[in-house]
């Protein structure tokens, strides 16, 4: 026994040392919401919440985004005064206004926390309202629904109970052999289904409540703000004369049960059943209907049942992998749990958000059987749970599908478990009002959704999972890799031999090409340090796609502030790039080099890359063309690169050991296949090696870039450079990794400059080092040291120098800071602007005592004068005051001081220019000039 027995009720699921006294992300809502929902199922019924305005607004928003219907819930809008002295006047006024605007037959007066806490006696208030409105035929229902008294589940039944106890019952209104059906909070679509099903047995039934059309209205050319549909008041009155009540709800507290009341008071037998979800409960429901009507199940329903059975068998193996986490109100959880159990999906977490002491006792034993069959040891059934609990238990018990409301989306995201949204509220998807769970057809729709989620999980993950377990981390993959690398090397060597023996013709041609390339290297700013400040390059961002994923990279296209590879403000089409280059060439005479450096990989976008090069090459064959690539597709394109006149290629090679490479590359995409781990690194590496050989063979100058990553490849770089030299690269560029937020290595530190210098020094033994790399953006323009891409794109920069001694100064009363939109008397500060005829400049804000202090203060004329004097001296350097309005007295005083007052509601800049024009036309010289000349 815990110390606080009552409190223990709400804390039964939280382990010690956690947020025991806090609800972490609620899995329930408040009573008034339930009350309002149920009231929507009564014809011509509107709700008014007795409490603060906010409660009604929140509930309206919460329901409107689920049902996609206008939700109107009135409020008595209690204020501080109402809270202290009682809210009867507010409530009466609210009822009157609600009747005027909506003319409801029934008003559900639902209390809130506030009304209950300050002790509002709503029944007495209703009595007194009737006294003052003797002719009214509106039925007022008082529903006690303090937010702290339970959840939306209790609120829902609280209204129904209040309704049946308030409505004047008349058993004689009942049809012969009438059935009452009382349902819990279910979707409009399920409600429609239930009605139809009952009707198909020829039963005359009263369904309470009936939200089938009120919370799911069709589109009509006239809008009715009191929605159609709902249980008619006469039908409710007849409920006392029915032969039987079926109450669909396992956990409805007796004190709130409408069926119990009808039984106790009018002797209408009440049979409580589970909602007809899944085979057993649908069968039971149909059996009752058969008994009550004396008719047999129709052939079409029997067929539906058979199909459902067939589907259960078809899906049973997929479902057997299901480990469900079910959450929501108690009845929903119960129905879905039984659906899962029948189909072999083990409910490993069943969590009711509401407090429901019976919950565990009812559900746990039912799960035991399946858990034992499938050898599942851990499952939890909890009530009064929040999403903190649900997330914890879902993880602990290995849930792989979540079934509940969209409030589970956080768990869905953090635990990567798919969420089947099928109960209120569904806020991030559409169709909440159309969700089907009941009957053979509805249960099957839901079951299919669950099965498909499990299947999708399986089919999308099994390749990687099996590969990871049985290939990637095994001896097998390493052996294979080694062989592959070896074979690539053999191919390259064989090729080299073949080439050596090739005709003189080819040799001479390659020689020519190479010498041409060497010549061009001299004017390439990246390959030759001496010319980097003289010669400019343009990077054309035409290649957005990338085929590998490096752990240091996050590619974004719209980030003008970042300067690093992979970044560009905009991706250009080849034609745009061509125009851009032409334009740049006009204004940057030393533009010698055209590069394609992404933002993705130049070769992954080969069509675009080659089209851009061809366009420029036609216009200017002298340009030096370079491109950068990760090398994955080099073997495929090396010849084409050389043929297109590209003389320089940069290959980023970070490792020559697949084990190290696997730490750098997240994945590699080649011909539609995704490789990860060492396989990815191995494929990339072998293609880099083969590709560089081919380029060198074709006379292309190759620069090898290596991104230096502390703790990953820093001690391996020397090997990389050595290999690059062996392959025939001309330059090596070792650069520090720039840690980019959001990338895997975002949190890593950069290699210190000193260490970098040291590494470069060592590597110089193998290859010349490019020490002047600026790690440019993919759309850089200009020399390496001055990226002009941002300013360069701007063609006509308006550049006007304000000459200060000629400027007019104006004080502006502005509330928004953008328009002249403030009354002078209300302004707490004035913005000072200067204008010189063409441009307007903001100077500063000046604070002032507001001139207008309300009517009391106005009587003290003297202080007002003093204040005005202060304003005048504050504006001594101003020529005009611009404001929305101003009093006549201050306008006169300002005019006397030589400050023109202009009333306007324009943009500040426009108003200042207008004012200036007027001052100039009047021949007024700026105060500042006058002051200067003195």
């Amino acid at each position: 026994m815990t110390k606080r027995s009552k409190g223990a009720k709400t804390r039964n699921v939280k382990p010690e040392g956690t947020l025991e006294d806090l609800n972490v992300n609620p899995c329930k809502m408040c009573m008034p919401l339930g009350s309002v929902t149920a009231a929507y199922g009564v014809e011509g019924c509107m709700s008014i919440l007795h409490g603060s305005q906010g409660c009604a607004t929140y509930i309206r928003r919460h329901m409107a985004t689920h049902y996609n219907e206008p939700i109107d819930v009135a409020s008595s809008a209690l204020t501080e005064q109402g809270t202290v002295y009682g809210g009867e006047a507010n409530l009466h006024k609210g009822i009157d206004n609600l009747i005027k605007l909506y003319n409801p037959h029934v008003i559900n007066i639902s209390t809130t926390c506030l009304a209950e806490t300050i002790g509002e006696d709503v029944p007495s208030m209703i009595f007194r309202w009737y006294e003052s409105h003797p002719k009214s035929n509106t039925l007022l229902v008082s529903t006690p629904s303090p937010g702290y008294g339970g959840s939306q589940y209790e609120g829902y039944f609280s209204f129904l109970r209040s309704l049946v106890t308030t409505v004047p019952m008349d058993p004689s209104l009942a049809a012969a052999h009438q059935l009452n059906v009382i349902c819990g909070p279910i979707s409009p679509a399920d409600t429609r289904f239930l009605k139809q099903m009952i009707k198909s047995f020829g039963i005359h039934a009263v369904m309470l409540p009936d939200v089938s059309s009120s919370l799911d209205q069709g589109r009509l050319s006239v809008y009715n703000r009191t929605p159609e549909g709902g249980t008619k008041l006469t039908a409710i009155r007849s409920m006392a004369g029915s032969d039987l009540t079926i109450e669909l709800g396992e956990f409805v507290p007796k004190a709130m049960s409408p069926g119990q009341y009808l039984q106790d008071r009018y002797g209408v037998r009440c049979q409580r059943m589970n909602a007809p979800i899944a085979l057993r409960d649908i069968d039971a429901f149909i059996k009752i209907l058969e008994e009550f009507s004396g008719r047999k199940i129709s052939a079409s329903v029997a067929q539906e049942r058979a199909r459902y059975l067939d589907a259960m068998i078809d899906s049973h193996k997929y479902n057997s992998e299901g480990r469900a986490c079910i959450f929501g109100d108690p009845d929903f959880c119960y129905g879905i749990t039984r659906l899962c159990l029948e189909n072999g999906i083990v409910p490993v977490v069943v969590a009711a958000g509401s407090a429901c002491p019976e919950f565990k006792k009812h559900i746990q034993p039912q799960i035991d059987d399946l858990a034992q069959r499938f050898l599942v040891d851990n499952f939890d059934v909890v009530q009064a749970a929040d999403f903190g609990d649900i997330e914890r238990l879902a993880k602990k018990n290995g849930a792989n599908v979540l079934i509940g409301s969209s409030d589970g989306r956080r768990v869905e995201a953090t635990c990567a478990i798919p969420l089947i949204r099928c109960t209120f509220p569904i806020h991030d998807q559409i169709g909440g009002q159309r969700v089907r769970t009941m009957g053979y057809s509805g249960s099957l729709m839901l079951l299919d959704r669950i099965t498909n989620a499990l299947l999708l999980r399986k089919t999308s993950g099994f390749r990687a999972a099996i590969r990871n377990e049985f290939y990637d981390n095994t001896l097998l993959s390493q052996a294979h890799l080694h062989r592959q690398t070896q074979s690539e090397q053999l191919v390259a060597e064989a090729q080299a031999c073949l080439d050596d023996a090739a005709s003189d013709y080819t040799a001479t041609r390659e020689q020519q090409k190479h010498s041409e390339a060497v010549q061009k290297t001299k004017s390439h700013p990246c390959f030759t340090a001496g010319c980097s400040s003289k010669n400019a390059r343009i990077h054309l961002p035409v290649a957005p796609k990338c085929n590998i994923s490096c752990n240091y990279c996050v590619r974004r296209f719209d980030c003008p502030n970042e300067s690093r590879p992979g970044v560009t403000s905009q991706v250009l089409t080849p034609k745009q790039a061509f125009e851009y280059w032409k334009d740049a060439r006009k204004r940057i005479p030393n533009l010698t080099t055209v590069g394609i450096a992404g933002p993705g990989d130049a070769l992954a976008n080969w069509d675009k890359t080659i089209e851009t090069i061809n366009l420029i090459h036609k216009t200017d064959p002298q340009s030096v063309f370079c491109l950068s690539t990760n090398g994955l597709l080099l073997p495929r394109y090396a010849d084409k690169i050389a043929a297109a006149g590209v003389t320089h290629v940069t290959v980023t090679m970070n490792a020559i050991d697949p084990i190290i490479g696997a730490q750098i590359y997240e994945h590699v995409n080649l011909d539609g296949n995704t490789y990860i781990g060492q396989a990815a690194a191995g494929i990339l590496l072998s293609n880099q090696i083969a590709g560089i050989c081919m380029l060198v063979q074709a006379g292309v100058i190759v620069k090898v870039n290596t991104v230096l990553i502390e703790g990953v490849n820093d001690s391996h770089v020397e090997e990389v450079t050595k290999k690059a030299a062996e392959l025939g690269a001309s330059v090596s560029n070792i650069m520090q990794m720039i840690p980019v937020k959001g990338s895997v290595f975002g949190g890593k530190a950069q290699v210190p400059q000193k260490k970098l210098a040291c590494i470069r020094k060592t590597c110089r033994a193998y290859l010349p080092q490019m020490g002047h790399c600026q790690q440019c953006r993919a759309d850089a323009v200009g020399t390496l040291y001055e990226d002009l891409s941002h300013l360069f794109l701007d063609k006509k920069a308006p550049h006007t120098q304000t000459s200060h001694h000629q400027a007019y100064r104006m004080a502006v009363a502005s509330k928004s800071g953008l328009m002249v939109d403030e009354h002078f008397g209300h302004a707490q500060q004035l913005a000072i602007f200067e204008s010189n005829g063409t441009s307007v400049r903001f100077v500063e804000n000046r604070n002032l005592d507001t001139y207008c202090k309300g009517s009391d203060a106005c009587l003290k004329e003297q202080s007002k004068d003093v204040r005005m004097q202060r304003v005048v001296s504050l504006l001594a350097d101003c020529d005009a005051l611009l404001c929305l309005r101003a009093g006549t007295e201050p306008m006169r005083m300002l005019a006397d001081a030589g400050i023109e007052v202009r009333l306007t509601c324009d943009r500040i800049e426009t108003a200042v220019l207008d004012a200036e024009q007027s001052l100039v036309s009047k021949g007024i010289i700026p105060v500042l000039s006058r002051m200067q000349s003195i």
Partner: protein, 457 residues
């Protein structure tokens, strides 16, 4: 290329006439010189179906984006359920703020008081999450039953050596704007009143942007590329440590002045930080605001660069806007938003697209806001304070609005009436601020107004 798109059809009429309540008449007027001034700032009329939220909501939405703060709602569960992650603020770091923590007061707490439970909750929050700051929101009930939240917080501060700041926000104590003021006070309580030497001040604070759909980042990127540093956003994507540095700023720029102007004034009075008011919605406002910021900082190079930057962005946008405008010109818009500033800004943005505003309502606009609104709009545009659901129905129908800009609560009504809709509230999933926002806004308006569905209904 201009293309004629079939007129927007499919509008519905009201089945029942909409009677006007006497209490509401003073709060409804029309544009221009005709019509009376608008009564506003009053409590909502009972039973009239006001669209307003409460004081707590105002405080919660302003403070919630502080990413590493532990926000505790001391009250019953509803206050927590309906405001959980309500603001779509994005974070670059911590996402503690996206949880909804609540003491979930039950009937026993109401009878015996909730102070002890709150104190325990704070202790647990500290030991499990080690937050640097805890905000405790006292909602309706905590106030009424007399829980001394202030003392509980004070004791917790001493016990744990962290900041624990009470926000006394019972829903009935005013409307949303009152909540904004309380949030401002809480922020002042956090950052303190010790001024930073002005000579060493550097950078700016951005007040009143909440990083909905990354808008704070868009603006910060603009500023950064212009060479202007941002100390902290208040409160979009901010954290406790950054907020504490706020006094170091040279200037405060205030966006969404409705919620933050009081804080800006306090920071000016207590910390000597001057402020200017800005808006990053619409081409003109965004450009003017950037230039004003540069001018206020007084570096002529930056001013120059800013002007060129804006011109470049405008040149890029113009052809895009022109295409949308050709498809939107002559349409009619209805606006219903929280504050006056947003309404004014939207009227101007619609004008940039050739759309005329025929109805403007706000939840918490001031007399002056309405003065400005009325001088911006046409004479037969309806202007209303604290508009009710029936009034929205009446005036959208009567004035033939083609699109409503509002919050998601109003969306189903617009659709039922056959009116297009634009979400300009917390729940938007794409940025509407800055230059990119101009394009998104035009795109969204066009996507709804010119949808083919209207031709079939």
């Amino acid at each position: 290329m201009t293309r004629t798109i079939a007129a927007h059809t499919g509008k519905a009429t009201s089945l029942m006439a909409v009677p006007m309540l006497d209490e509401r008449k003073k709060s409804i007027s029309c544009g221009g010189g005709s019509g009376h001034s608008i009564a506003c700032g009053k409590e909502s009329t009972a039973g009239a179906m006001s669209q307003r939220a409460c004081v707590f909501c105002g405080a919660r939405v302003v403070l919630n984006p502080i990413t590493d703060a532990f926000h505790i709602i001391h009250g019953p569960i509803g206050c927590s359920s309906y405001t959980w992650d309500i603001r779509g603020s994005l974070t670059s770091g911590n996402d503690l703020f996206r949880h909804s923590f609540c003491t979930d007061m039950n009937d026993m707490d109401v009878v015996f008081g909730g102070e002890k439970k709150l104190a325990r909750a704070i202790d647990q929050a500290v030991s499990t999450h080690h937050p640097k700051v805890i905000f405790v929101y006292a909602t309706c009930i905590a106030g009424v039953i007399g829980d001394d939240v202030e003392s509980v917080c004070k004791a917790a501060e001493q016990r744990h050596q962290i900041r624990c700041i009470p926000v006394q926000a019972p829903g009935f104590s005013g409307h949303k704007a009152q909540g904004y003021r309380l949030a401002g006070d809480a922020i002042m309580a956090l950052i303190g009143t010790r001024p930073f030497p002005r000579a060493k001040a550097h950078g700016i604070n951005i007040l009143g942007d909440f990083n909905l759909a990354g808008e704070q980042w868009i603006v910060k990127n603009y500023l950064k590329s212009l060479g202007i540093d941002v100390v902290t956003g208040i409160t979009g994507d901010s954290n406790c440590a950054e907020l504490m540095q706020a006094p170091q700023a040279q200037l405060n720029v205030v966006q969404c002045a409705g919620s933050m102007i009081a804080l800006a004034r306090r920071m000016e009075a207590d910390l000597n930080i001057p402020y200017i008011k800005v808006s990053f919605y619409g081409i003109e406002d965004t450009s003017t605001s950037l230039v004003h910021i540069a001018q206020a900082l007084g570096n002529p190079d930056i001013v120059d660069r800013t002007k060129r930057f804006c011109q470049f962005q405008i040149n890029q946008l113009k052809p895009i806007v022109k295409r949308y405008k050709s498809q939107l010109s002559g349409k009619k818009a209805a606006i219903f938003v929280g504050g006056g500033f947003k309404a004014i800004s939207l009227i101007k943005q619609f004008r940039e697209l050739g759309i005329q505003t025929v109805m403007v309502g706000t939840q918490t606009g001031s007399a002056e806001d309405y003065d400005v609104i009325r001088s911006l709009v046409h004479d037969d545009c309806v202007v209303l304070d604290d508009a009710t659901a029936t009034e929205l129905e009446k005036f959208m129908t009567e004035r033939g609005a083609d699109i409503l800009v509002g919050g998601v609560k109003e969306r189903p009504l617009a659709y039922k009436l056959g009116v297009a809709f634009c979400d300009h509230n917390h729940e938007r999933k794409h940025p509407l601020a800055g230059y990119v926002g101009v394009r998104n806004f035009a795109e969204e308006i066009n996507a709804s107004i010119n949808s083919p569905v209207w031709a079939y209904v």
